[in-house]
């Protein structure tokens, strides 16, 4: 019997029992819509999924040797990286892949935002994606503590401390998160359970839902077309391209793991084991969280201890919650996109969000502040930091704006201009971060008000926009 006939009969056997033919038919007919924009954005979800798969595989391998416990966590990680064959590769790949996963997830989310792929009927795909993003941050936060080293210990102490600011439930939440009033080995136990059990179950479940949504509805076609004018065969063209990207990713991951085994050495993107955590040792200065939390860390620093009768951190958390909620509800807030009309305001909102996050992250790195030695003897100068970061953001923003005007024909810049004005007022005019933000917000509000009035008076056409 030839191998072709054997495969055929095996397929028939399975098909008779599990009705595989419709599935095969679905895959054969499935197409990826092609529009004016680059189709590169369609691969980011796949890349994120690939890195997540690497996380699962490398995580399971680490789990074979990792032993949570006061006397074993640090030691077992050290054992993995020094004694276990290829343990160094597994740990380094796990860490690199974690950061790359979040990076590709962020780009995927912003590309979805800019391409308005959240338009009906894909609102819930956006929401599930947003929840997956939150889960990924949870993975990062819980995994950070597991090596039980000095940096992780103090960063977790600082990170969990911010929950205290949640109104009414703050102290209770802190106790739940830490398993007591302080960060102890009990905190590690619950972070371990969260990292290797609870979060993976939730994430795998939600990824399945996210993928089912995408398969049921197909990938979002370009705006203005309910069905794309042309498409690419999902199988084999798109799948093979996906596989090609994954090959590149795995090679890059291997190279990074070997050449930069402890990360690129930037605060928030490093995982050198260093010294074992000592709860009795004094916290050393300059502790910073992972890069994707830096903006919240910096925003907390910008708030004074008390403002409007509330505690500064409380107000900051309220602001962050409001921004995150607005982000999650974008499919419903963007009413024009719901009508399949251009919604340049939301494109600009996405760009403004990028400016806002980049500026805060740069500030969190104390770029241009001088001083800030390892012992924290000399603190960076906050005015100089703000000045330098504004100077970095300015050309970046100019390039993005030029690109938007020239290539994408964008004509709506209120939010991005406000974000830029915020940075300029704070960095160059020396206003406080919140003061500058308030002025920029008021001006943006006025500009939007004027725009809405004009729009109501004139014909309801608004120039350009994706």
């Amino acid at each position: 019997m030839s191998s072709g006939r054997a495969t055929r009969s095996l397929f028939d056997w399975l098909d008779a029992r599990y009705s595989i033919s419709p599935l095969i038919q679905f895959v054969r007919e499935k197409e990826v819509p092609l529009g004016e924009h680059s189709m590169a954005w369609y691969f980011l979800g796949g890349a994120t999924l690939f890195f997540f798969t690497i996380q699962i595989v490398s995580g399971v391998l680490l789990l074979m040797y990792y032993q949570p416990g006061e006397a074993t966590s640090y030691e077992s990680i050290r054992y993995i990286t020094t004694q276990v064959p290829f343990g160094w590769l597994v740990r380094s790949a796990h860490c690199w892949s974690a950061h790359l996963m979040i990076a590709s997830l962020v780009v995927h989310m912003f590309s979805t935002m800019m391409l308005k792929a959240y338009r009906p009927p894909r609102e819930l795909t956006w929401v599930t994606g947003f929840v997956l993003f939150s889960l990924a941050l949870g993975f990062g936060f819980s995994g950070y503590l597991l090596p039980w080293n000095e940096l992780a210990f103090f960063a977790t102490a600082v990170g969990t401390d911010s929950v205290k600011s949640v109104p009414l439930l703050g102290n209770w939440l802190l106790q739940v998160l830490r398993g007591g009033p302080d960060v102890t080995i009990n905190t590690l136990y619950r972070f371990f359970a969260l990292h290797v059990c609870i979060l993976p179950i939730l994430t795998v479940g939600l990824i399945s839902v996210h993928l089912i949504f995408i398969q049921r509805q197909g990938m979002a076609p370009p705006r203005g077309e309910r069905k794309a004018p042309r498409g690419m065969k999902f199988f084999p063209s798109f799948v093979l391209r996906d596989a090609l990207l994954w090959l590149v990713c795995v090679t890059a991951l291997g190279a990074l793991a070997l050449l930069l085994p402890y990360g690129p050495g930037i605060p928030g993107v490093e995982w050198e084991l260093g010294h074992k955590a000592d709860p009795l040792a004094p916290a050393f200065p300059g502790i910073k969280p992972e890069w994707y939390f830096l903006w919240i860390y910096q925003l907390l620093k910008e708030f004074p201890p008390h403002l409007f009768g509330l505690e500064g951190p409380q107000l900051c958390l309220l602001l962050v919650t409001a921004l995150m909620t607005a982000w999650a509800l974008v499919p419903w807030l963007d009413r024009k996109a719901r009508r399949d009309e251009p919604s340049p305001a939301f494109s600009d909102f996405g760009v403004a969000a990028i400016f806002f996050l980049v500026f805060l992250t740069l500030k969190a790195w104390d770029i241009g502040g001088g001083g800030g030695d390892a012992q924290g003897a000399q603190l960076p100068d906050p005015r100089a930091v703000a000045w330098t970061c504004a100077w970095i953001l300015l050309p970046l923003a100019a390039a993005v704006t030029l690109l938007r005007v020239a290539v994408f024909r964008h004509r709506w810049f209120v939010f991005s201009a406000a974000a830029l004005l915020h940075a300029v007022l704070h960095g160059f005019a020396g206003l406080s971060y919140l003061g500058a933000g308030a002025i920029a917000a008021v001006l943006a509000g006025l500009a939007i008000g004027v725009a809405v009035m004009r729009e109501r008076r004139a014909a309801p056409t608004m120039g350009g926009g994706p």
């Binding site: 004694q83 380094s92 042309r230 084999p236 090959l247 590149v248 050198e272």
Partner: protein, 525 residues
């Protein structure tokens, strides 16, 4: 009202506190007398309030009992001026010492500018009031005797409860100016308590009571008591007066970090030391403090704050201070550098030094200006320690220079290797390789290096090699560790290159497959 009480009880019960606590009696509100209020609100001729806002806040925060004491002192005119009240409040004393101060009529009266002249007025700023510097009020209320309740009357006689001066004070205290020119009475005066175990037991049972006996045997004591030389140091010269702090206090004049300055106040003062001579008749030098400050001991103590480093008294003694004789210098050094001393005792140098009457350690390392030792002391430079001495005293013995050269070569090789391995540890860590074994080896090398340098004091190759050989073995082990790590890194790098080649090939095949599929597809509308 009842509802509010009920609510309060309920809240306390919910909080889990206070329910069982007995109700505290409500404190009686303090109402200042008109005289005290007048002082508190008094203004200077410029219109500025005399009692500053922070001092008023301090007064308000005091317990009612202390406020009442202030009121009583103002009523008795012991506090006779707003400026006096201001000075007392500006001390910011806690309730305990403030209570002692307000109980002490001597002090209250002697801080009253209305009652005292500049010669007897205690003040926060004696310079401004023209008082002598020992009438510093801030220092006095920090005095260890004052804090233990032994105030003015403890030394001067009289009673702090009595409002006026009594004859006992004049009887006990020598007449001025005799007491300023003749200081011979001071040691015995302090010894009345400090040499009496029964008295000291009441205040500080742990404090020895043999200081006076030791002092009498010291060079200072001999000069003062036997020769009537009032320039010689006595208790007050070193411990101060009216501001004596516990010796453990960093501000005490006899705290280890203050001792060089305290001794130097006399011994570095050429005018004060003029006329004093050494045993061999030379003028007593006054450069000890300057030398000590530059020495390895001085830098450790004064710059790094290392209290393990010796101050003057650790070598010379304190109450029994005497210059160490040649025979005892080595013993003084051995109290800390015992191992080097033992090695030296078994060496050929011991006999040679004895023959020449040289003071063992000090002969090579000096005394007050002991410099940090360096390997270059062993090399063959013209002015190096070993070479210069041997050229002069043992020119006929070439073995000595050979041994010094051997020590020097061995130690510098070990030191160079250690430094290179240290940088290799960082290189391994950066490449993600296991740096712990090499790091341990480097620590071992540091230890061996230190021990080798110490073993030189035996001036014997076999003694030296017993340690140096261990170091040489660690160097070999470290080289093997580095070679193994390099091999491991090469393996990883080659593995990566092979992986990249394979994945690259696979990627090329995939790309070709995609092109092939798409070129075969019919054109789509």
């Amino acid at each position: 009202m009842r509802r509010r009480t009920l609510l309060r009880t309920l809240l306390a019960a919910l909080a889990g506190i206070g329910a069982a606590a007995p109700p505290e009696p409500a404190p009686q509100p303090f109402v200042p007398s008109a005289a005290l209020r007048e002082f508190l609100e008094a203004r200077a001729p410029s219109g500025e309030p005399i009692i500053a806002a922070d001092q008023l806040a301090y007064f308000e925060g005091l317990p009612a009992r202390e406020k009442q004491r202030f009121d009583a002192a103002v009523g008795l005119e012991l506090i006779g001026a707003p400026t006096q009240l201001q000075e007392i409040l500006s001390l910011g004393l806690r309730a305990g010492p403030l209570d002692l101060l307000l109980h002490d009529n001597c002090l209250l009266c002697h801080t009253n500018p209305e009652e005292q002249d500049a010669e007897t007025l205690f003040s926060i700023d004696p310079e401004a009031r023209g008082s002598p510097s020992h009438l510093q009020l801030g220092e006095f209320v920090s005095d260890v005797h004052f804090r233990k309740g032994l105030s003015c009357a403890g030394c001067h006689g009289g009673s702090p409860d009595v409002e006026g001066m009594v004859d006992e004070i004049y009887e006990r205290w020598p007449e001025s100016p005799a007491r300023h020119t003749d200081r011979t009475w001071i040691p015995a005066f302090c010894a009345r308590c400090h040499a009496n175990p029964l008295v000291m037991r009441r205040f500080n049972p742990g404090l020895p009571t043999d200081q006076y006996a030791k002092y009498r045997e010291s060079r200072h004591g001999q000069r003062l008591l036997d020769h009537g030389d009032s320039k010689a140091a006595q208790c007050v010269s070193c411990h101060g007066v009216h501001g004596i702090r516990d010796a453990k206090s960093p501000r005490s004049k006899v705290h280890p970090r203050q001792v060089p300055g305290t001794c130097g106040a006399c011994h570095a003062d050429a005018a004060h030391m003029a006329g004093y001579r050494t045993r061999d008749g030379k003028p007593l030098p006054t450069n000890q403090l300057a030398d000590y400050e530059q020495s390895v001991h001085g830098r450790a103590l004064l710059e790094r704050g290392d209290l393990g480093a010796p101050a003057c008294n650790d070598c010379h003694g304190n109450h029994a201070a005497l210059p160490p004789e040649i025979a005892s210098i080595a013993e003084v050094c051995r109290t800390c550098h015992a191992a080097n001393g033992e090695l030296f005792d078994g060496s050929e140098h011991k006999r040679a030094f004895e023959r020449n009457g040289w003071p063992e350690c000090a002969q090579c390392h000096g005394n007050h200006a002991i410099a940090k030792t360096a390997d270059s002391m062993l090399n063959e430079a013209e002015n190096s320690l070993c070479y210069a001495c041997h050229r002069q005293h043992a020119a006929d013995n070439p073995r000595c220079i050979e041994t010094a050269r051997y020590f020097y070569d061995s130690i510098t090789t070990l030191a160079t290797e250690t430094a290179s391995f240290e940088s290799e540890v960082h290189a391994l860590a950066e490449r993600g390789l296991d740096d712990e074994p090499l790091s341990i080896a480097v620590e071992e090398l540091h230890e061996t290096l230190q021990q080798s340098r110490s073993r030189i004091h035996a001036f014997n190759r076999s003694e030296f090699d017993a340690v140096a050989d261990r170091g040489r073995a660690v160097v070999e082990k470290s080289r093997t560790l580095i070679a193994n790590s390099d091999a491991e890194y090469r393996f990883r790098r080659n593995g990566l290159l092979i992986a990249i080649a394979l994945t690259g090939l696979l990627a090329l095949l995939l790309y070709a497959k995609i092109r092939q599929i798409e070129s075969n597809e019919p054109p789509r509308s």
